[in-house]
Amino acid sequence: MPPAVRPQARRITALLGSVALVLAAAGCGGGAGSGSVSGRVTSLTALDYYTDASEHAQWSERLTACGRTAGVRIEHRSVPGASLVPRVLRQASSRTLPDLLMLDNPDVQQIARTGALTPLDRYGVDTGGFTKSILAAGTYHGKVYGLAPTVSTIALFYNKDMLAEAGVGVPRTWDELKAAAARLTRPGRYGMAVDANATFEGTWQFLPFLWSNGGDERKLDTPQAAQALRLWVDLVGSGSMSKSVLNWTQADVHDQFVAGRTAMMLNGPWRISAMERTRNLHWGVAPIPVRAPGQTLVTPLGGEVWTVPRSSSEARRQKAARVLACLTDSTHMLATAKQYFTVPSRTAVASRYTEQVPTMRAFVRSVERARARTAELGVRWPRAATGIYTAVQAALTGERTPEEALRRAQQSTTGP
């Protein structure tokens, strides 16, 4: 990617090119100011990754409403998902953290470990009644640092018309899934689609199969893990699933499903609003199949957590905690869940929600037993996650057998 170059600059360019990464790592950049330190707190800053125009507007509205109850105005900023954590790290080193910070739940422990967040117990925020796993994701060294208004997970979406036409029922076990996917496959259409790309998103989609079968990220080279990986390999091998899954994001998987190029897919409820806008698409949603009947489905827990960083003054943090408490109270929780088809993170609110929105039943049930990705490995999770998606890719491309791929993943996860 060569930009325009003046000949006299070529000696410099040698260095310039290679330190691009370094510059970013060294954290050369300004952060957002956090306003005045003294006096009464009248405004707070909030940072999240809701960059989508309508989503940003909806969150601004919600933050404004909650800010009003705490008597503050909120300056709401959103940055793209991939740049949120790097930005937070930069702000941490320049002491310009926002007053309210949203983080994806697997990142909370990492950021809490830096000391940049404050535990919520000292502000008297109510942490009761939350789903255990989301509380675990927001907890570091026994203290709660973050709370999520709503949570989510993934489930099996299916095209009702295609299943009816092929005379296939909704699969509940892996064997049924394989059989159904094979029968649903036609020229120009696959039976099943997942995201198996080389990112943490690929890992996230594989986890329900790994975990429900008794696999564990602390020890990847087990027969249970290999069985799970073999399922995906078989689906691709039999032609029921495109080999392109290696390169699809969840958004791509959704596009395939909406375009009628796959009869079933693994995806999250945040796609529902788009699917409902698609005409002539009759979709259903069911829990992800497990290997043997009677096995308990364990899915990974998704959801964004709000935290109170160590900002400039105690007064600001107190105010921020009040806004956070408002965002996670029952009313706002229910409203957020309805808006984005997510699940309220307090169990009592979630059951009320199922009565009001029955289509969300599959998700509510899955979320009850969902597991936080950082629950076991904590800050060492990113390494295991990298090992998992690499193993999935190595097996799906046929480079290695599932057993061999997982053995190598285990080595790289525990190695130096």
Binding site: P2, L15, A20, G188, L246, Q256, Y389
Partner: protein
């Protein structure tokens, strides 16, 4: 007169100072920072606390002895060589083509710059869609022409993916090569060509004995800059394959990114980043030496 003479060295330094200051601040400092970072256990926590225990060369040992390093190094070399060969050959061919004046030549030449004007993420995303095995337009065209029976796994095959990424990088690099080489061709005096024509030299002989020798300094610059830019290509690979499938397109640059920004192991990421700086330096030294030789020889 005498007074002016005394001030001259000072004035000379004053002219140099802004440039030197700029270089030290924006290039020297980050490099020094990175070297320091690579010798420390630098994690996400360091950003807040500032603590980064000194660990000596441990990060280098760990990074260079890991299983992934030899493969990433090989991939990087293949990526650079493949990209340069393609970019340069096609760039030179196009430059020669546009060297002669013909109607619409200027328009076509500016159209050629298009890949350069697009944001890299946009073109990489578009290529990723185009190269999809089942629904991509490239396979669609190949099937329609009956060139392949089924889809070519452009990005989903461990050997194919690297080739595809190289092809896209070639596409991205052609404008740069063409523009610089085109400039080089224009500098060659036309009398030489006229003389050659009078002597009865054919197009091949003309190229071998006039164009190529006179274009060589420019060609050297293009190749070296191309190499340095290719070493650090990150966005194309990240968007198109994410380093996959199964690490098949993982280069040193993507690996450094992964270590620093996915796994938060900034010390090890910095160590690998320094290896990249060294690789670039090797190219830079080769380039400077070649330049000196051209000047004196």
């Amino acid at each position: 007169m005498r007074n002016e003479g005394r001030w001259e060295p000072v004035a000379r330094w004053l002219f140099v100072t802004p440039a030197v200051g700029y270089l030290l601040l924006f290039f020297g400092l980050p490099v020094a920072e990175n070297v320091v970072m690579s010798l420390r256990d630098y994690t996400a926590t360091t950003f807040y606390t500032g603590d980064a225990p000194f660990v000596g060369p441990r990060n280098y040992f760990e990074t260079l002895s890991s299983d992934q390093f030899p493969q990433a190094l090989l991939t990087t070399v293949v990526f650079i060589v493949g990209s340069l060969a393609g970019q340069f050959t096609l760039g030179l061919a196009l430059a020669l083509f546009f060297a002669r004046a013909f109607p619409l030549g200027g328009v076509l030449r500016s159209l050629l710059l298009l890949p350069w004007l697009l944001p890299m993420v946009v073109s990489a995303t578009t290529w990723r869609w185009m190269l999809d095995t089942d629904t991509g337009v490239v396979n669609h065209a190949l099937r329609a022409l009956h060139l392949v029976p089924s889809g070519v796994p452009w990005l989903t095959d461990t050997s194919g993916a690297l080739t595809s990424v190289i092809l896209v990088n070639i596409w991205v690099g052609i404008p740069f090569n063409t523009v610089i080489l085109h400039g080089g061709l224009r500098d060659i005096p036309t009398q030489l060509y006229e003389a050659a024509e009078l002597d009865g030299a054919g197009p091949l002989t003309t190229f071998r004995h006039i164009t190529w020798p006179l274009l060589r300094p420019v060609a050297g610059v293009v190749l070296l800059l191309g190499a340095i830019y290719t070493v650090r290509v990150l966005d194309i690979i990240l968007v198109m394959t994410g380093g996959g499938p199964a690490d098949a397109t993982q280069t040193l640059a993507t690996r450094a990114y992964d270590l620093s920004f996915q796994q938060f192991e900034f010390g090890r990421g910095a160590a690998l980043g320094n290896v990249l700086v060294l690789v670039s330096l090797v190219f830079a030294v080769v380039h400077l030496r070649a330049g000196r030789r051209a000047l004196h020889g």
